[in-house]
């Protein structure tokens, strides 16, 4: 018995990638990969648990690309054991969530599990990337990052449309970034990219109408500063909020070595790229209309004598723009914001920060973590300040990812494919032996994370077949990630907020478990309405289609948890339907969305 398991184990370890070919592993792939037959599931579970012991050190898993070379290489050098690869079902659900924000449909899942062809995982990744759901999820991500809300007025709709277009067509990301930095518009309702600038607008003294008649009186330093911080964070992964108020020296010696070398004047010089820009609200009856602006370079540069609401007094007089990383000055013959875009996107840190950010989103943590807190003085292993550790867990990997991203033409889809096709991405969350926190920087296992509020909602929709009611422009849409701004009210709002939905105004909250969440899942109509056998829900359709309760249960599991039930689970669920089919099925559907598995990306 032990021998039998060991053979299976070794074969699976060596050939885990080669499912479907003529080898022993290939022929047994359907069993090893937890395919359809539920009574095989129990065996597979035992095999899966035995697999890690046989998989041994990181070296046994194939290196699919350069990501693996670095990640498994480091594990091997330092003697850290990796988790095994995911099962096919685990992989498919995970990639679907990571790339499209949705759980897979039963049909998609079955097709994938039945597929015996080689490279089916790579083709699944490609297929996910080409879906409209991919566009929706990642445009929603950028809407969150740029905090699109009512402060953009109705411009958020156009901004959303523009983002979707950029993602769908895989527009070079450096081009997208530059167009945000240099946007000008008579109206942000007409020029999509200008909404990024408009969003950070800081009002002047309350109650005073802006003096549109004399632009020289209008300074808007606070807005320039907020935008400088936003671009620093979003495109360079650096946190400039500290030096926006004071020098790094004397404050940040124990926090960030590079920022310690930067002064507030450096920050002013960076914000000075925006110094000529003015964000002038359109007026109606002498009151500024919320979210409707002219954005253009209308005035003289960054003058530290201007008034401010949000920061301690500035000094130093009008500043000349200089790029904060290199202190390189803007060419005086060029438009300052064009120069900002040029200098920023040409700097290697742009590619590094971007690659690291999406790596963090897909892998659960960045090579530099958190991804918006780079310490640029601690990136080179050969050049570390005394007493400090290297910041990136895998500096060569970060370099290679960044170079690869830049060489691809800053194509996001290429970056996603590179990361998702690595076996490092495809490691299981099930860890052999005792897990230690010190293994985290090795990416030795998948980092389990809770679904975002929008993902939970949309998974409920997919699982139960009962869409939500949101708006995208003038259209009605069923998924939360299809809408442009959070507009939920009432019960739905309580639900979304409990799962961490941001209103794009407050500091962001990472989705984390809290006691209010299960309370809502137990009782909220967001859940209790959807599990009912009515209005063409999945429960209703299954009850109508199948006489056999076993089939109903199986499909509820596949549709909700993206896996087949174990024998024990099946029996419990079928028994629950014995007294009353309809109520029983509803209860099973309810129980499935209350399981932790449903709420987590593992």
């Amino acid at each position: 018995m032990t021998r039998g398991l060991l053979i299976l184990g070794t074969a699976a370890g060596l050939f885990a990638q080669a499912a479907g070919d003529d080898t022993f592993a290939g022929a047994h792939a359907p069993i090893l990969n937890n395919a359809k037959k539920p009574d095989v599931g129990a065996v597979t579970d035992r095999v899966a648990r035995a697999l890690p012991a046989a998989a041994g050190r990181g070296g046994k898993i194939a290196r699919a690309n350069f990501v693996d070379t670095h990640i498994f290489g480091k594990m091997e050098r330092d003697g850290v054991v990796s988790a095994p690869l995911t099962t096919d079902a685990e992989f498919f659900r995970r990639a679907s969530l990571d790339l499209t924000g949705r759980i897979p449909s039963p049909a998609e899942l079955s097709a994938f599990l039945d597929d015996k062809s080689p490279n089916k995982r790579a083709r699944a990744i490609d297929a996910f990337i080409e879906t409209e759901a991919f566009v929706e999820k990642w445009s929603y991500f950028f809407l969150d990052q740029f905090r699109a809300n009512g402060k953009m007025g109705r411009g958020y709709q156009l901004f959303h449309y523009w983002l979707k277009d950029a993602i769908r067509s895989d527009r070079p990301y450096d081009d997208v970034a530059r167009s945000m930095m240099n946007a000008s518009a008579k109206s942000n309702l007409v020029v999509a990219a200008s909404n990024v600038l408009v969003r950070e607008h800081v009002e002047g003294k309350p109650g005073q109408a802006l003096d549109g008649n004399d632009i020289s009186k209008v300074h808007q330093l606070d807005t320039h500063d907020e935008l400088a911080i936003q671009f620093g964070k979003m495109f360079l992964g650096i946190n400039l909020s500290c030096v926006s108020c004071h020098d790094g020296a004397g404050h940040l010696e124990k926090v960030n070595v590079w920022l310690t070398s930067r002064t507030r004047r450096d920050f002013f010089a960076f914000a000075a790229f925006l110094g000529k820009t003015r964000y002038i609200p359109h007026l109606e009856n002498r009151q500024a209309i919320m979210g409707h602006f002219i954005v253009d370079d209308l005035a003289t540069g960054y003058d530290t004598k201007g008034p401010s609401l949000l920061r301690t007094p500035r000094w130093g007089g009008p500043g000349k723009p200089a790029f904060i990383l290199t202190r390189e000055a803007a060419k005086p013959t060029e438009e300052p914001r064009d120069e900002m875009g040029r200098l920023l996107t040409a700097d290697p840190q742009f590619a590094r920060a971007t690659a690291n950010m999406f790596f963090a989103k897909l892998m659960g943590r960045g090579i530099v973590e958190p991804y918006d807190e780079f310490d640029l003085a601690r990136q080179d292993p050969k050049n570390l300040p005394a007493g400090w550790d290297l910041q990136p867990s895998h500096p060569e990997l970060l370099n290679e990812l960044a170079t690869d991203f830049r060489k691809s033409g800053f194509k996001l889809k290429h970056l996603f494919r590179t990361i998702c096709n690595s076996n490092a991405y495809q490691l299981s969350a099930q860890y052999p032996g005792e897990w230690k926190e010190s293994y985290s920087p090795y990416f030795a296992r998948k980092f389990v994370r809770m679904l975002s509020a929008e993902e939970v909602h949309d998974a409920l929709v997919s699982a139960t077949g009962r869409p939500g009611a949101f708006k995208y422009g003038n259209e009605k849409v069923g998924m939360a990630m299809q809408s442009s701004v959070p507009t939920a009210t009432g019960e739905l709002k309580s639900f979304m907020v409990a799962f961490g939905q941001s209103n794009r105004s407050n500091p962001p909250r990472p989705p984390a478990a809290s006691p209010l969440q299960p309370l809502l899942l137990l009782r909220s109509p967001v859940v209790t309405e959807r599990v009912l056998a009515e209005k063409d829900s999945r429960v209703q359709r299954l009850l109508d289609t199948y006489k056999d309760d076993n089939k109903v249960v199986e499909e509820l599991f596949v549709g909700t948890l993206s896996r087949y039930p174990s024998a024990g689970e099946k029996k419990l669920a079928v028994d629950a339907m014995a007294a009353n089919r309809v109520e029983g099925a509803q209860n099973v559907q309810w129980a499935l969305v209350n399981l932790a598995e449903f709420l987590y990306n593992y």
Binding site: R449, S505, P507, P515, Q517, E569, L572, A596
Partner: protein, 468 residues
């Protein structure tokens, strides 16, 4: 003081995770932050008062006009219908606006000389909820005051306590939203409730309770069959399942749905408004004495830069005051009349500190060009009642037109600030407010009351003068 610089230094060992005065930090690894090796310390020479079992914080959010209301000053735009009267303690209050509150002012200590420096709602309301200035650099780590209280009082929770320690009403309607637990574990997070929904959703009839129980049995059985596999995925999902148990215990506790029933009489007395219902529910929750000890009631909508006394506007001060007056007054009345469960011979008001304030004041003098008032930070009032507060006290004073303070209202020459209100609340609950927590993920130290108020040091004392 050495700060962690290496990965190894921030990793917790079981020995290092301290239980300090009930500040349970085991398992404090929050999603996305390093695992913590925190330690807490205090150089304390203060003795927390411990006169309150609970605190209710009524946030008059968006800012009430102080010169028209609780620090009345005659000005060119004082409305003709105000009918301002002078109370026994010398306070001037509009009888027309505050007929009910007028009757409970003998329970209230009125402090008129608070000061802040924030002038923007989001930052001001953040300040009120966390007791410190908003700083994006470490905002991720900063917990709401209620969460700190939940952590501190965790050690006092009894076996029978099922209610969350920290509950709020309508916080999500405020500018700052319901803030997270920061470096504290998620189990200390707020239950932010929308009162209208809580009435519908939390009160369960017998049939609904039975359905939840039936479903729970199936859920529990399913969990048990797969417990091994799910445990293999790591601690996060197990933590969630623990919360699920907590939620089930809460929902099965008959006291919880009972807390969310109000009578028609309640609706009449408190007003059938969102804040009226919030106050009635706050009373109910505390009355159940099932574990809740800090309630933040957010009453949004006061930001009248225009048309502040114009009844034809869609929102104006008359409207908001009509919501405030019956709600606030009924709350104090009911707390004063309800005997305490915990201490015979005392009332709920004896054991509950009630604080009511805005995040700043509104511009004194004549109205602005839009017939409203704008934000005003140099002086604004706060009200305190219960838990040993001497009712009727008038502390601090402002000048003739309400533009500046003339007396600070306590034994320091600086004006008291929100930090001192926070210290007062901690002290009332018996919490040592001079405590700090070290080695947060950013390397910084979190002080319960931050002495580095913007633009300089601020004293961190509690406002002891409210106790007479």
């Amino acid at each position: 003081m050495s700060y962690p610089k290496t990965i190894r230094e921030v990793l917790p060992t079981r020995r290092d995770l301290l239980q300090f005065g009930g500040l349970g930090l085991a398992g404090a690894a929050a999603q996305g932050l390093w695992p913590l090796r925190v330690s807490a310390s205090t150089g304390s020479k203060v003795t927390p008062r411990g006169s309150a079992r609970s605190v209710i914080f009524y946030e008059i959010s968006g800012a009430i006009s102080h010169v028209d209301c609780f620090d009345f000053k005659e000005n060119p735009d004082t409305q003709k219908d105000f009918d301002v009267r002078t109370l026994k303690n010398g306070v001037h209050l509009s009888h027309f606006l505050f007929p009910r509150t007028e009757k409970v002012m003998d329970k209230v200590a009125l402090l008129r000389s608070l000061r802040t420096h924030e002038q923007v709602h989001f930052r001001g309301q953040y300040y009120v909820q966390t007791g410190r200035q908003m700083n994006f650099a470490f905002a991720k780590e900063i917990p709401a005051i209620g969460s700190v209280i939940a952590a501190e009082l965790d050690g006092r929770r009894r076996e029978s306590d099922t209610f969350p320690t920290y509950i709020s009403f309508n916080l999500e309607k405020g500018a700052a939203g319901a803030l997270a637990t920061g470096f504290l574990p998620p189990r200390f997070s707020v239950f932010d409730l929308i009162p209208e929904q809580a009435l519908k959703g939390m009160a369960l009839d017998q049939k609904a309770i039975e359905l939840v129980e039936e479903r729970w049995r199936l859920l529990d059985a399913l969990r048990k069959t797969e417990a091994g596999r799910v445990a293999g995925y790591g601690i996060e999902m197990k933590t969630y399942e623990n919360f699920s148990e907590t939620a089930h215990r809460l929902i099965s506790d008959a006291r919880w749905p009972a807390a969310f029933q109000i009578t028609e009489d309640d609706k009449k007395r408190y007003g059938n408004t969102s804040v009226g219902v919030s106050c009635a529910l706050a009373r109910n929750v505390l009355k159940q004495d099932a574990g809740t000890h800090y309630i933040h009631i957010c009453h949004p909508g006061w930001d009248h830069h225009g048309q502040i006394w114009d009844r034809s506007a869609s929102s104006h001060h008359y409207k908001l005051i009509q919501e405030f007056d019956p709600a606030f007054a009924s709350l104090l009345e009911d707390l004063a009349e309800t005997p305490s469960k915990a201490t015979p011979g005392k009332t709920m008001l004896d054991e509950t500190l009630v604080v009511a304030m805005s995040e700043f004041g509104r511009t004194p003098g004549p109205l602005n060009h839009l017939k409203g008032r704008d934000h005003y930070h140099p002086c604004f009032p706060a009200m305190f009642a219960g838990a040993g507060v001497k009712g009727g006290l008038v502390l601090g004073a402002t000048n003739k037109d309400g533009t500046a303070h003339t007396e600070t209202g306590w034994n320091r020459k600086e004006q008291p600030r929100i930090e001192n209100v926070v210290a007062t609340m901690y002290s009332a609950l018996g919490i040592d407010w001079t405590k700090s927590v070290h080695n947060l993920p950013s390397g910084r130290t979190y002080t319960y009351v931050d002495p580095l108020g913007a633009n300089g040091f601020v004293p961190t004392d509690e406002i002891g003068t409210i106790y007479g």
